[in-house]
């Protein structure tokens, strides 16, 4: 595999293989086993937009596998402010690193970088476009909880209009025949062209402006943050945000194995009392970013993850 730009770069089998490799790498991600599979390799972290989890988990993933990381650092102190093109920045880092993780405000930047670079590009989010490594860690979290991806009923809730995370995830879940419920306020619905595209792939989709009514049948609730700036005034925001938030009480009749996910950071959409329930998975989900990116980095660099890791022969 070369670059990972969209989930289309991975077949269903590839996805399962990466998730299997990630599972084997869990003790390495936790630091229990030292396995320097990527020793001597360098990751170039190019984050043109703020990022905490994606940037740090790429960095942790590389370091846990014995590799090194070079960072672009703050855009304000780089050549970008002097007017350097993305092309030139990529060509330069191409000479410094063996693989590049890129986040950029412009849609299509990852594909653009992949065309410019010799080394593989991992898309860490490009404008409103794709965020496939997030999707992979989301799938890992779901499979870890349910033992499978196929045929689950998944609620995607909150801001479905602007969130690239939910767009990528919805596409991936449809490949595994999941039933999707899109629960969002009126102005933040899943874009029509995405729904058409998903339905074209045979998806079963239910759209709703209500979240709470669908909880009891769900296997997964994937919450997203509703951003204040999307609303004309504070009152409107509070009204809408309030109806798209979860508290522990809302989960009383949920299926036992149902999980609540969130790409984080959260604001008010998941009350802290959910953290202590058996359903909360968002912190594990954030940790899974490390192990999934470890597996993806190995794959992009052509390094095989051993079939057995640790003491067992």
């Amino acid at each position: 595999m070369s670059s990972l730009i969209t989930m289309d770069d991975l077949s269903d089998e590839d996805i399962q293989e990466v998730l299997n490799a990630a599972e084997r790498l869990l003790p390495v991600a936790k630091g229990d086993i030292h396995l320097p599979l990527l020793q001597g390799r360098i990751l170039g972290n190019l984050f043109f937009e703020p990022s905490t989890r994606t940037r740090m988990s790429f960095e942790t993933a590389m370091k846990r596998l014995g590799g090194e990381v070079v960072n672009l650092g703050a855009v304000a102190s780089s050549s970008v402010v002097k007017g350097e093109t993305l092309y030139d920045t990529i060509r330069m880092v191409d000479g410094y690193a063996d693989v590049i993780a890129l986040r950029h405000p412009r849609q299509g930047a990852a594909q653009y970088a992949a065309d410019a670079a010799e080394v593989p590009i991992a898309n860490g989010g490009d404008g409103a476009g794709h965020h496939p490594t997030q999707t992979m860690l989301d799938l890992f979290t779901i499979r870890q909880a349910h033992g499978r991806l196929n045929g689950l009923r998944v609620i995607l809730a909150g801001d479905l209009r602007y969130g690239r995370t939910v767009h990528s995830l919805a596409h991936a879940l449809v490949r595994f025949n999941c039933e999707l419920v899109f629960a969002s306020p009126k102005g933040l619905k899943m874009p029509e062209e995405i729904i058409e595209d998903l339905e074209g792939h045979g998806a079963t989709i239910l759209e709703s402006e209500d979240l709470l009514n669908h909880i009891d049948d769900a296997d997964v609730i994937y919450m997203t943050r509703i951003q204040k700036e999307r609303f004309p005034d504070e009152d409107e925001y509070r009204k809408v945000a309030g109806s798209f938030s979860l508290s522990a009480d809302n989960l009383n009749n949920a299926k036992e194995e149902m999980i609540v996910m969130h790409p984080l950071p959260r604001v008010d959409e998941i009350s802290p009392d959910v953290d202590k329930t058996r359903h909360a998975r968002y912190f594990e989900q954030a940790f899974n970013g490390v192990v999934t990116r470890m597996a993806l980095l190995c794959r992009m660099l052509g390094v095989e993850v051993p079939a057995k890791i640790g003491g067992e022969a």
């Binding site: 093109t85 092309y87 412009r106 930047a109």
Partner: protein
Amino acid sequence: MSAPETSMRRVTAINNGTVIDHVPAGKALLVLKMLGLDGKMATPVSMVMNVPSKKMGGKDIIKVEDRELTQHELDRLALIAPNASVAIIRAYTVAEKRVINLGDEVINVVYCTFANCASLGDREPLPHRMKVVSVEPLNLRCHYCGRPQDISELVENLL
């Protein structure tokens, strides 16, 4: 108008060059723009617009003298005149007929209609690329951002 006048050619036959027929009515100027025929070239160009046509109702015709347009140049036309017929003329006779073919990708003909596409960054050097998803109806997507393109908007974005 007398009978001999109606049968008279609106544009005289050319000795050598390229004739583009069956251009959708009113699109000839756009075709010239797409072909880079902007009046600065040395060769004569004739054009008639809104000629009655049995097949199309109305059509435009363009004749470019002393220049054989290449297949690559002609393929650019597929965006606005996919059914145009093209003849290469040598010594007043049709020497070759060419078919316009959009191919799988349109490179450096138009730029993406999505303002936040990475390919539109200042001085970015990579070619503008549109993937052809389907020809009928014409459906193009930007190679970089993946956005479907509105064709009526797209023809305003000629390079």
